[in-house]
């Protein structure tokens, strides 16, 4: 690697860390303006530094690595605190810091009435720190630190309204489900150490590149599959997606930042980063694609029957993440990452817009009590419309370009994947526009007095809307493509038209059902009966997990650990020791008779013993 000037990469994550620390320790007594200033300032400084770094690095044909110090030096394993920037992470960095700063600005307005204002921004900055560590990490262990850290911040922020039980439960659920994924990730790291002797990405990938492609199973497949387990946890894929809808218990800016734009894309990022490993394990790639597809379909179906606006978008996120996985799985890594970027734009916009609606209605989240808000909150309406068009894949909005790239690649890989993908695209358009129509069209069915959000909230919406419109033209795929050995498919116009067609069909169907003939929804639901109930109840997945895993664990714990181990062994042992000590104490207590004569006898006893010893040792010599 050519020697490049030291660009102080470490500052990128450290700015938000300082912000988190300041707000966390001193923010309690600060004015809102100061807290906001510190938080936004930290995030913005990070963004500025990213831009500065990237402009200094220019073409970035090779990665720019900065090694700071050796963290672990144990036997053969050497792990350093190394940060690196290459084309892939540059994209992620811009998204994280850019969208992150916008969301920070929005949150100042959204969280204005909250007493935990300082705590919120401290956590938000802390999250940025960990996410940036994750992106910049040059070895898997450091990445894992960021991985776990964002999981922690996710827990803290989901459970932000900790006085509500459902918030705490949701936070715990998120953390525990993530843990399952983390376990997979840890095993993957262990296998890497065993196989490659190092966790450094350069070393691992160079070694993997030299290994042959594994047909069915092998060490690389194992590593890849375990990484996928981790990615499923963090990026909410089947079967570990159940935490994401519940995570909507957190404040909306959190949903936007963490559960749409950044944290959930960490899984996608890791798979893309580890492309060298995955390319040698076709089985794993297939698994990734299938999981992605399954998730996309199932989540889209569930999203059509949700009544909480945030839940609709949550399932949408799960579904779109599925798309990204499909992109990765069929080998179109740059397409997958491109979709990460565009998704960040329009999904963050969707959530922030939803937040704007909720804010306008003073906390109402149920679609059934919305309607006709077009005229009342126009800015929110237009920006959300832009986002919806983007996600529906309508040309020329951003989502069209990225989704199309994925679908085309899927078709080249296996045509059935393409067809499932376009059907899901139709469903996507359907449920998003269902939400839009229920919210903004028709008669207002609620009781609040809607008012537009303040400028500090709608400015980020506008900026994100512009990005959602024009973002598709950012040359991201060209920028990243050289990193991956991808074939560039011919631009098949037919397939493009088919996918756009499905998208438009979805929009029209939603229009028909929810605007033209308002009663159609209920009628269809009644006719579909059981199927509709299954969808509306999220296919009973949570209930299944409960019955299969949660309850047995609880009962088992109670029976074995509580009654068995805890009471018998620990308490019994403890009580036994105490009783023994007490017993001895009771015995010795009698020595302290308070009677002087007894003491004299004891002294005499001691003297006799001593004398005896003297005699035994051979007298006075």
């Amino acid at each position: 690697m050519p020697n490049q000037p030291d660009l102080q990469l470490w500052l990128i994550p450290v700015f938000p860390l300082i912000g988190a620390f300041l707000n966390g320790t001193l923010g309690r007594n600060w004015s809102k303006g100061l807290i906001a200033g510190v938080a936004i300032g930290a995030s913005a400084l990070s963004f500025v530094w990213v831009v500065k770094t990237l402009s200094a690095l220019g073409q970035l044909d090779t990665a720019h690595v900065e090694r700071y110090f050796t963290w672990i030096a144990s036997g053969d394993l050497n792990v350093g605190f190394d940060l690196a920037v290459d084309r892939l992470s540059s994209v992620m960095l811009l998204v994280v810091t850019g969208v992150g700063t916008l969301i920070h600005v929005y949150a100042v307005g959204y969280m204005d009435h909250d007493k935990g204002f300082w705590r919120f921004f401290s956590y938000l900055n802390l999250f940025l720190f960990f996410m940036l560590i994750l992106v910049l990490a040059q070895n898997f262990l450091l990445l894992f630190v960021g991985w776990e850290g964002v999981g922690l911040c996710s827990y803290l922020l989901i459970g932000f309204y900790f006085l509500e039980k459902y918030a705490g439960d949701a936070a715990k659920k998120a953390f525990v489900v993530n843990r399952v994924g983390d376990f997979g990730f840890s095993l993957a790291m262990l296998l890497m150490v065993v196989q490659f002797g190092s966790l450094d990405m350069t070393k691992v990938f160079t070694a993997a590149k030299a290994m042959p492609v594994e047909a069915q199973s092998g060490i690389l497949t194992a590593i890849a599959l375990l990484l996928v387990v981790g990615a499923c946890g963090k990026s909410a894929q089947v079967p570990l997606y159940v935490w994401l809808p519940d995570a909507m218990a957190g404040p909306t800016p959190v949903s936007a930042l963490i559960h749409a734009a950044t944290m959930v894309t960490a899984g996608v990022y890791v798979v893309a980063r580890s492309s060298e490993v995955f390319l040698k394990a076709p089985l794993a790639m297939e698994v990734v694609a299938v999981i992605g597809l399954l998730t996309a379909v199932v989540a889209a179906l569930i999203g059509t029957a949700q009544n909480d606006i945030k839940k609709v978008f949550a399932y949408s996120t799960v579904s779109q993440l599925g798309y990204m996985f499909v992109g990765l799985g069929v080998g179109a890594f740059s397409a997958g990452i491109f979709h990460v970027v565009t998704h960040a734009f329009f999904k963050a916009l969707l959530f922030l817009g939803a937040g704007s609606v909720i804010h306008a209605l003073h906390g109402e989240q149920d679609l059934a009590r919305m309607g006709g808000l077009r005229s009342k909150i126009p800015i929110t309406y237009w920006t959300l419309m832009a986002a919806a068009l983007a996600i529906a894949g309508v040309w020329p909005f951003a989502g069209f370009h990225s989704k199309d790239a994925i679908l085309l690649a899927a078709h080249a890989h296996a045509p059935w994947m393409f067809w499932v993908g376009v059907v899901t695209a139709g469903l996507t358009a359907f449920y998003v526009f269902r939400a839009i129509f229920l919210c903004f069209f028709g008669e207002y069915r609620g009781h609040a007095h809607p008012h537009e959000s303040p400028a500090i909230m709608y400015m980020p919406l506008v900026i994100l809307a512009l990005l959602s419109v024009a973002g598709g033209y950012l040359p991201i795929m060209d920028w990243i493509a050289p990193l991956f050995p991808e074939a560039h498919e011919a631009h098949d116009m037919t397939l493009v038209l088919i996918s756009v067609g499905f998208g438009l069909a979805g929009i029209l169907a939603a229009y028909y059902v929810y605007v033209l003939k308002p009663g159609t929804a209920e009628a269809s639901a009644a006719r579909l009966g059981g199927l509709y109930r299954a969808i509306a109840n999220k296919f009973y997945v949570d209930e299944a997990y409960d019955a299969a895993i949660v309850h047995p664990l609880e009962q088992g714990s109670r029976a074995v650990l509580l009654h068995g181990v805890e009471q018998v062994v620990v308490e019994g042992g403890l009580k036994g020791t105490v009783a023994m000590v007490r017993g001895f104490g009771g015995l010795f207590r009698h020595l302290q008779g308070g009677n002087i004569r007894s003491y004299a006898v004891y002294a005499l006893l001691g003297a006799v013993v001593f004398l005896g010893l003297m005699v035994a040792k051979g007298g006075s010599q």
């Binding site: 008779g593 009677n595 004569r597 007894s598 004299a600 006898v601 004891y602 005499l604 006893l605 003297a607 006799v608 004398l611 005896g612 003297m614 005699v615 007298g619 006075s620």
Partner: protein
């Protein structure tokens, strides 16, 4: 001659000792103790310790025992009342332990006997001169410390035994 004197005064000492332990009235014990001290003084003389013998009689028998007698008088100590509570360590272990103790000591001394030599009157006589020299040269510090100790004892005794001034 030494032997006779030794045996005589040793038996007096032991006799008085037994009397001390056995007598019921404290005053009788006190008088026995004086007897012991007297015989010991003679034995010190036999051992050539003239100064010590004198100090024993003047300080120990003359001052300390007088103090004891005064206190017995003050407290109107009477014969010991028969005990109500039995103290069982002393009952159980007292005699055996004592017996063992004495036996062990006797055995030890007997074993040591050849190396110890004999005592002859006049073989080593020390008077005030030697003691004074040693005391004020080698043992000056302990000497001064003991003087402080005595001062403390005086203070302590006064504080403890005075009448409360209310």
């Amino acid at each position: 001659m030494d032997l006779i004197f030794f045996l005589l005064f040793a038996s007096i000492a032991v006799g008085c000792g037994i009397s001390l332990v056995v007598q019921k009235h404290p005053i009788a014990s006190a008088l026995s103790l004086i007897g012991v001290m007297g015989s010991l003084a003679v034995l010190y003389l036999l051992l050539g310790a003239e100064f010590i013998a004198a100090v024993q009689l003047i300080v120990y028998a003359g001052a300390i025992m007088v103090l004891f007698v005064f206190v017995i008088m003050l407290l109107n100590a009477a014969e010991e009342a028969p005990s109500r509570k039995t103290n069982w360590p002393s009952r159980l272990l007292g005699v055996p332990l004592l017996a063992v103790f004495v036996a062990l000591l006797a055995y030890l001394f007997d074993k040591m006997s050849p190396s110890l030599g004999t005592v002859t009157f006049g073989a080593f006589t020390t008077g005030g001169k030697q003691i004074g020299r040693s005391l004020f040269n080698n043992y000056l510090l302990p000497f001064e410390v003991t003087s402080v100790l005595v001062l403390i004892a005086i203070l302590g005794a006064i504080v403890l035994a005075r009448k409360e001034i209310d």
